[in-house]
Amino acid sequence: MSLDWQVVERYFPFLVGGAWLTLRLTVVTTALGTIIGLFAAIARLSRFKIFSWPAAAYVDFFRGTPLLAQIMLIHFGLPQLFGYKPNMVVDAIAALSINCGAYVTEIFRAGIQSIERGQTEAALSLGMTPAQAMRYVILPQAFRRVLPPLGNEFIAMLKDSSMVSIISMEELLFRGMISAGRSFRPFPIWITVSLLYLAMTLPFTRLVSWMEIKLKREHRPEGR
């Protein structure tokens, strides 16, 4: 059977266009997810239940249910409940960001908790409020420590963004399905799609490993 690699040439620009949307979707939703996750983590760690409880429920729900179901719920479920017309792009970005935010919440929570208690105490002993201690002492240190897991989350989002093909977002996976269907040459098309994903994730995988090594080298225990 001929694999007919020429279809790759024909569909390549089309697929690259899809990859470009995948990349933009990932950047936007990881950025939004990071902001959501930062605030949710602070709420999660609050000693006031009115903050910590909703944050915990948010994390549990969006980490404990499939992303596909979340996309369907946001794109088809909510419009039915509230009676408005769904918007594909908004819903895709919303579903991915909210899902990403739940994972980022846990990343930030772990990051914040990994900062020694003595740091907060030193800040408080200088007269800082708990919010100032968080803002000027804890978060700047936590940010450095969470960079590798945040990078991993970005990579996960690159791949998970393929799920919004279910609501016809024309990102890489969706365009792969179209190309494979039209050309009747699934193998060359899907291997191309896969390699395009790999080309996007690999630089970040390497970047994360590099950051991990660098942080490990920096993180010598204080004192002595």
Partner: protein, 244 residues
Amino acid sequence: MNGPMLVVKDLHKYFGRLEVLKGVSFEVARQEVVVIIGPSGGGKSTLLRCINRLEEPTSGQVYIDGQCITERHAPVCQIRRQVGMVFQLFNLFPHLTALENVTLAPMKVLGMPRGEAEELGRQLLAKVGLAAKVNNLPAQLSGGQQQRVAIARALAMRPKLMLFDEPTSALDPEMIGEVLAVMKDLAREGMTMLVVSHEMGFAREVADRIMFLEHGVILEEGPPEQVFGSPRHERTRSFLSKVL
């Protein structure tokens, strides 16, 4: 005001069912240097941490320059500004340079302009002998240097009272002297100090009073000559024989 700088009244602290402070009361006069000694686990750190309310006392009162910090709605952050604290493990901010460690609180808490804060910071770092290290990160400094930065950082808030929790016990022996020298200078300048330390030489030289704290109780207190020379309490005597 001319009352004592620090008043601690009948302080009790429980961790769960463990009573760590069993009714501690004492005063520290203005410009007085009080050294607390006592066996590990006796509640020395807890006492210091209750004084600036890093730890919530179970009952009792603490007054700093006449202001009660233990009241329910006390302006805790405001009172803490007046109380410097130096920790056993320094607790410097590792992401900030020595100078930034010192200037952070004056800028963010007191709203001091950067220029002024940096001038103050350089001056304080020079005072603790670290003028050449202003731009170093804590990780690039020795333990003794880090602890001196920590002292400068506390002094930058112009505290009325300084608390030291075993400031030299995490240091290599050759670095202890440089930190104690800075503390002696402070005492000489008239800083009111409450110091947990087992550096007996330091205590003899600068302490006005020694308190022996064991099992959450102040068993004995008095001038260093008396407590070290002729301790009244059997427990003090056996503790001193182990430390000296």
